[in-house]
Symmetry: C2
């Protein structure tokens, strides 16, 4: 049905080997035959089949990216970073998303296997067993923000501890002595690390340390709202609140404003993640930005290295740097707005 290298060979009156050589511009083919082959290629509109090629050369020149349920800007940015870096290394990207349970991840792994030379997996609840069972050990893998202890895989994780530490230290530098935290869900690794960073920053900054200052939360806007209400009712009100993520910070902001309390004059506020909305709320929210782009770049670079070295090198765990973005809610001036969105009509 479709035109193959054989058709070209026949038309140009050469062997398929010669055609292949012309296509991969091997230099040992005579100018005249080269012309003839190229002519045939053009006339027949021959398009080489990547499958056959990959099978033969045992490389696909593509890398895979497995994501959890794709939602919002965050994953879009991950894809963007990964794709650009992959392209830079002349690799294609194969994305598979929306895998929330273990079963779906398994099928995704099975599907992608053989189609890529390496794989980046981002999934909160994947375990080493699942990977081992569904992927050949020869396939290079990089884990992105997964919580696996296994040392046999490369992994990249957000530096939650450092980010929280920096943000809280920043608040301390603003002169705050009594800083509350609205915590994330228990047993959530990101949340635990952020809490750890908060506590250490208090110690390091010689600020007040008190379990009374730690309010529960679950990363939802509603829990941030509730926590802030409770905090405001306390007899000794803290002068600042650090929410373990932006959603809770936004919920807290609503509660604070409803109570008629001024941010940052009467109480300062900061979040974590630097989701786009935080620039648009009033006052704009200070937050900790994860360079999602870096995340993708690092992951791909590591993967490409693994591919090049045939997966034979020491695996390592890497912490991705984060950055405090001070805005109005902690008492800093509002920085110039970063255009974050591009729409279809732009």
């Amino acid at each position: 049905m479709s035109i193959t290298i054989k058709d070209v060979a026949k038309k140009a009156n050469v062997s398929i080997a010669t055609v292949s050589r012309v296509l991969n511009n091997s230099n040992i083919v005579e100018e005249d035959t080269k012309k003839r082959v190229q002519e045939a290629v053009r006339e027949l509109v021959y398009l080489p089949n990547n499958l056959g090629r990959s099978l033969s050369i045992k490389r696909t020149e593509a890398i895979g990216l497995i994501l959890p349920d794709l939602f919002g800007e965050f994953f879009s940015e991950v894809i963007r970073g990964v794709d650009q870096t992959a392209q830079h290394h002349k690799y294609h990207l194969l994305v598979s998303s929306s895998h929330d349970d273990r079963k779906e991840i398994e099928t995704a792994l099975q599907m992608i296997r053989g189609r890529v030379d390496g794989l980046i997996i981002m999934s909160a609840d994947i375990d080493v067993q699942t990977i081992n069972k569904n992927l050949p050990k020869s396939l290079p893998v990089v884990l992105l923000n997964c919580q696996v202890d296994d040392t046999s895989y490369d992994s990249l994780n957000i530096n939650n501890y450092y980010g929280a530490h920096q943000m809280v230290s920043h608040l301390i530098n603003h002169g705050h002595k009594s800083i509350s935290i609205i915590k994330g869900p228990v047993n959530n690794h990101d949340a635990e690390e952020r809490l750890r960073g908060y506590r250490q920053a208090l110690r390091d900054g010689k600020a007040q340390f008190d379990s009374e200052l730690e309010s529960p939360g679950d990363f939802s806007e509603a829990s941030g709202y509730d926590a802030a209400r409770t905090i405001l009712k306390k007899k000794t009100r803290p002068s600042a609140i650090f929410a373990a993520n932006d959603s809770m910070a936004i919920g807290a902001l609503s509660a604070i404003q409803e109570a008629g309390v001024q941010v940052p004059e009467e109480i300062a506020l900061a979040g974590f993640d630097d989701i786009p909305i935080v620039q648009f709320v009033k006052p704009s929210l200070s937050s900790v930005r994860v360079s999602i782009n870096d995340l993708g770049v690092l992951a791909v670079n590591r993967l490409i290295q693994a591919i090049r070295e045939k997966n034979k090198f020491i695996k390592q765990k890497t912490l991705v740097p984060v950055e405090v973005i001070p805005r109005e809610s902690c008492g800093c001036p509002k920085p110039p707005r970063i255009p974050f969105y591009r729409t279809i009509s732009n």
Copy 2:
């Protein structure tokens, strides 16, 4: 190096054909040998190679998605819709993005070709020639928001005309008789259609029709700002402004507020695209929402149909429905906020 079907065959003392039959659970294989083969598969941790399989069955069971530069929520939503629908049809998704110029699109097409059974292309400036030159005519293709007139390809486009018409009609229903438009860039197809919808809505609603009411713009926030300032200075000020996209509407909002004019009391405002920020500005902006999810679902469904029917059926152009989302800026109450973001810590 890696375990193939041959190794399994040897270990189980059967032919590779039998192994293949067991793997694809053909029912004509005896229970006893089946057991033996499965045992061998387990012991060797055999993982079938998709490439060989695809080459043999002449299907990849994957579809491709070519996107322009990936930025922001919009494309993330497109991918999401496409991936979910693809998965529903048991197809994999291969995404390739960041293709801004023709050259990059060409390499993307060449790379993806052979790896997918069908392709969705979303690119403002792709032309039919490029497609024809780089893809076999047998490969099913669906164009998403591309501006090609060629009838040999299926295409999906946003219903800009209808959306603008609906939005402007909505303003008319609010009692506005004099409605300005801030236009998009000249020669931009989306912009032209939105203008056409605006004009027709005025006629249909018997509202004032005057070229004075049409201000130039280029879809940028700055141009919206400028346009609004000009509009406010006119001796006969319109009672409403329809911006051809949300970015311009946000720019216009800034200008209006700086002038101390109340929205929507003194002047109503509406945009187009329903980008996420519009829910968070004060007052929240009425806009026209493009169901991006529908876009993906429709595209995939059409593509799968094309694949099933081997690309032999009548191609068609489809308009994707849009929906007016009334908010405070046109005088409607603020609707409950839709959670749009999910962050890494959620």
